[in-house]
């Protein structure tokens, strides 16, 4: 359903990667590997339309993503290196607002439930700045629980998480893939997710 052909990315003066081709179907997971600076983040940003490739095409259900634009945005959820949470807002405010910005307004109860599930029970009303790094990451990841998008693009979702939280995320991904979702992700850590098909893409 997501089809990538001959993708090339140029940053500065040198080409980071070229001739990337893959097709991702419902229920499939694509894991992008590579050392620091090999272009993983650049690829993910291109996939969700934040950056333009130097060459190549990306199709979603047969349409080029640059022609779909906002329609495409409503089927993807991208979580980047940065958390996108505001230090001065509480966890629950952050979750509600980031969902609303993603075009998916949720009520407090649902947000409360999601935070509870992510192990933040009792901390919903604290400003995020007093939370630890791992807890902040959990606030970000809580969005995955309440969003209803098909394609998840996750850049190092496991960073700063402890083992319990890593398990939680793995189960979340499995459930999403079982329901016919798709996931593109990078990680330097080991992860085991039972998907219909796990593809790997190695950048150098």
């Amino acid at each position: 359903m997501l089809k990538v052909t001959n993708l090339e990315c140029v940053r500065g003066e040198n080409s980071l990667f070229k001739d990337i081709n893959f097709i991702l179907e419902a229920g499939e997971l694509l894991q992008v590997n590579g050392p620091n600076g090999s272009g993983k983040t650049s690829l993910l940003r291109i996939l969700c339309g934040l950056a333009k490739p130097a060459y190549g095409e990306i199709q979603w259900r047969g349409n080029f993503i640059h022609s779909l634009d906002e329609e495409y945005h409503s089927v993807i959820t991208y979580l980047g290196h940065l958390n996108g949470v505001k230090d001065n807002l509480t966890a629950i405010e952050n979750l509600c607002i980031s969902c609303a910005l993603a075009g998916n307004e949720i009520d407090e109860k649902k947000a409360y439930g999601a935070l509870q599930y992510m192990g933040l029970g009792g901390r919903e009303a604290l400003p995020v700045k007093v939370l630890s790094q791992g807890q902040r990451r959990r606030v970000t990841l809580a969005r995955l629980l309440v969003c209803s998008t098909v394609l998840w693009i996750l850049d190092e979702p496991l960073v700063a998480l402890d083992n319990a939280a890593v398990d939680l995320v793995q189960r979340l991904l499995e459930q999403h893939l079982e329901e016919g979702g798709m996931v593109v992700m990078t990680t330097h850590q080991e992860i085991n997710v039972t998907a219909v098909l796990t593809k790997r893409l190695q950048l150098v």
Binding site: G122, R123, A125, V130
Partner: protein, 65 residues
């Protein structure tokens, strides 16, 4: 006693607006400052008790299983 009547008192010899304008703002400032401090204290206490509860919950979670 300087004032013949209450209206005399409020008129302040024709300068009522200026005198009462000053005193009123003085009062408002004082009340405002106290309210702000009490508010700040209350939100802080709320936060502290939330943290306290959360840590206590965690501690009991760790010890029980």
């Amino acid at each position: 006693m300087n004032w013949a009547s209450w209206s005399d008192f409020f008129a302040m010899g024709g300068y009522g607006f200026y005198v009462w304008g000053s005193y009123l703002v003085f009062l408002l400032c004082i009340i405002g400052e106290i309210v702000l401090i009490i508010n700040r204290r209350r939100t802080l206490h709320k936060q502290l008790s939330l943290i306290h509860k959360a840590t206590k919950q965690e501690m009991s979670n760790e010890t029980t299983p």
